[in-house]
Amino acid sequence: MSSVKEQNSHEGMFAHSAVTLVSGVLFGLGLIISGMVNPGKVIGFLDLAGDWDPSLIFVMGGGVTVTTSTFWLVLRRERPLFERKFFLPTKADLDGRLLIGAALFGIGWGIGGLCPGPAITALATLDPSVVLFVGAMLLGMVLQNLVAE
């Protein structure tokens, strides 16, 4: 176990930031390479009755295969490399908020073909439709925050 002092060292801070940035870049590249940043590709998957494109199953499959085969090993450790503990969700039971939230998200996803990761990643292209969507998404998050208080 390392001390809190050690945690706050410049070296620790640098490693922490490097991990965050590298992780963000890899995530964004994954969304671009897989085609998830293109709303047309996402709708192509969600449109079962149309010209169905099953690619998104392979995106999820590739991602879940990597995480499922490694998370359990990572979580066997006492703590992560550059933090004092793992920050994991604590709720275990299903509730209305979870299911209603997921349903609302699914409807919005089906209308626009964009979910949060691809929307932020594609924001850097300055595509006007993505900019508009992200603005509304941020507003939706702020509204939920206000309602929750």
């Binding site: 010209d51 690619s55 997921a102 929307a119 595509d127 509304a136 939706g140 509204l143």
Partner: protein
């Protein structure tokens, strides 16, 4: 199925999974974008700092790809501006209410064998399928 691209989908998916593993092993955080984004709005100090850095990474990925690749990033808009605003509001509100999106519930939650994430993933997928059926085939909306 003329648009089917299984190889790039698998490779891209693996990148996303790898990103999530690095984040968990290094910083003990779940790479869930709606949670990171929501926290970047509502939190302060160090909690906000790392979140903004991660989101900057997503934007940098686009710039890197545009710089390095000869093929442009394709974005085919799927709805009118009015509908995009409604979609954005629903996605923002819904992912915060439901504590996650495709990444946090779909990629990370399933790997933790979380009952809540399984249920959320099935729910948003189902509603995504239904919504596209209604908008594309019953109402015949779309661009």
């Amino acid at each position: 199925m003329e648009n089917f691209t299984p190889v790039s989908a698998l490779i891209g998916g693996a990148f996303i999974g790898l990103s999530a593993v690095i984040m968990l092993a290094g910083n003990g955080r779940i790479a869930g974008i709606s949670g990171i984004l929501g926290g970047a709005i509502s939190s302060r100090g160090d909690e906000r700092r790392w979140r903004i850095l991660f989101l900057a990474g997503l934007l940098i990925a686009t710039l890197l790809y545009q710089f390095a690749s000869s093929s442009p990033i394709t974005i085919e808009t799927q709805a009118s501006p009015e509908l995009l605003v409604i979609a954005g509001l629903l996605v923002g509100f819904g992912t915060r209410l439901g504590s996650g999106c495709t990444s946090g519930h779909g990629i990370c939650g399933i790997a933790r064998f979380s009952k809540r994430s399984f249920a959320a993933t099935v729910t948003f997928m189902l509603f995504g399928f239904i919504t596209v059926y209604v908008t594309r085939h019953l109402l015949e909306l779309g661009v």
